[in-house]
Symmetry: C2
Subunit: 303 residues, 2 copies
């Protein structure tokens, strides 16, 4: 049995994509949507991101069987408190936040006694806002569900069915484990990308225009990641601090080794590492988690 009415709180990239994907894949389900920003609500109405865009969070959630919070990680608690009084008993409360342990705490604290089952679809782009969403965002992407201890098995299964219906492949794990996995596969890559793009823009002897011109040598891939939403990512680093710091320190240790290899002119150590890292790429492409065409099949390589 699926959810009949789904409320989406926050109508940016994630919220909008969920609304559009429900319309495409679950035509029997009705959706309501709310966003704190009136301009976003207006645009969401024009794009029909949900069947009905509501003027308040309470109105959006009052008949919902499933409420999904699609707001920045740091706004989850406030967004939940905004509609706490209007949720009906038996509702399943979920979210799409990029970190899970602190969000679980915040949602449970704001909504005592309700069924909170957090989730994180590992799918996104560098764009955000009500124009960024599209129905196929979750297609063939993983969605991680982190049921708290004692979660109702039937409700968890319902949520799994929901995400699978939107095209995702679902895995469940604990929130702390999620936070460690994502620290390495997503949070540290973003931290590194933001930092190196910052370093490059502060150089004096290499001008910004040179950095931009010659970015095709590798740098441009980092700039795409470093163009992601600042609010979203600030919140991720503030909320997944421990796992991020732990992974960062491991990376720093490894980078110090590479630095030593360069100083020592140790070509063998470099060659070994550079050979090992190719295997991971092959597996990612084989599992359909990336584009196998060279250079991601950027348009300039179609010829």
């Amino acid at each position: 049995m699926s959810f009949g009415r789904v409320a989406i709180i926050g109508l940016g990239l994630l919220g909008g994509s969920i609304g559009l994907a429900i319309r495409q894949h679950l035509p029997g389900v009705t959706t309501t949507g709310y966003d704190a920003d009136p301009a976003v609500r207006l645009r969401a109405g024009e794009r029909r991101l949900a069947d009905r865009i509501c003027a308040s969070a309470e109105e959006a959630v009052k008949d919902a069987d499933l409420v999904i919070f699609c707001v920045p990680v740091g706004a989850m608690g406030a967004a939940a408190r905004d509609c706490a009084g209007a949720l009906k008993p038996g509702v399943v409360v979920s979210d799409v936040g990029s970190s899970k342990a602190t969000i679980t705490e915040a949602l449970c604290a704001a909504l005592p006694g309700l069924a909170v089952i957090p989730a994180h679809p590992v799918a996104g782009t560098e764009n955000s806002g009500p124009d960024a969403g599209f129905a196929s965002l979750f297609q063939q992407r993983w969605c991680i569900i982190t049921p708290p201890e004692g979660a109702d098995r039937k409700q968890v299964d319902q949520l799994i069915d929901f995400w699978e219906a939107l095209g995702a492949m679902v895995e469940t794990m604990s929130a702390p484990h999620h936070d460690r996995v994502l620290a390495v596969t997503s949070h540290i890559p973003h931290l590194i990308a933001y930092t190196i793009v910052g370093t490059a823009s502060d150089l004096e002897e290499v001008t910004r225009s040179e950095v931009i011109k010659y970015s095709a040598g590798g740098f441009r891939d980092f700039t795409r990641i470093a163009a992601s939403d600042p609010t979203m990512w600030r919140d991720v680093f503030l909320n997944n601090r421990e796992a991020v710091l732990d992974m960062l320190d491991r990376f720093l240790t490894d980078l110090a080794h590479m630095r030593e290899s360069i100083i020592a002119g140790d070509g063998e150590a470099m060659f070994d590492l550079f050979t090992r890292t190719r295997a991971i790429r092959r597996s990612i492409v084989a599992l359909g988690q990336d584009d196998a065409r060279p250079d991601f099949g950027r348009s300039d390589h179609e010829g």
Copy 2:
């Protein structure tokens, strides 16, 4: 006046792309090709990467007006010595190596008295070998030419014309400046990508299969870069050591600041950096150096 006969030494991604681009854009020019690897020569013949594939470097270069060395940075000196006796007077000697100062030295030492004008087309993919090349690789990409002091202006202009005919936009600068610019736009991004992919594959509590599964959160972009040719990149780091170490140390300083911001919970510092870095992305897309579609327009987002 363009070059009538071009010899390409090394028939991998770069050499092959030059051969194919000459056939497409400069039909009056005849090409010869040589590669140290017999299997590569065979495949190069099948793909017609050059008009004539030769069994020795000497044979390939003997009538050439322009010789382009397209071998790994560390092999430039040896490749030049291999054909030193056969080069005709007045020939222009160039290359496509990713670092420039040490290559200039190596080519000048191997070919005393000849005109050496090094170049670096800032264009590539993660693939290598005789099957990787394609005619449009240089289209709309920058090619940096680093004429040594005293280089003949007419010969430099001839080389500029040549690269422009293949579709590239040309800029000239000194070899040491090139090496600093590329350290930040290409070499450090590769060093970081190789290292973090290595860090991720060595974790114990996060399995390799988890890293692969959830790579769509950002990590997969790094794996593409870290799948680049190990020989090529070992040589780059061995040959551009000084500039790489200098840029690496600046990056490490900035990363230490970010680490402090995370520890201190300083959201404002993060937000500031994450906002600044978006501007660079916009300029890169505006200048046609990357794909503006979200997520590089990976195929999964066409829907």
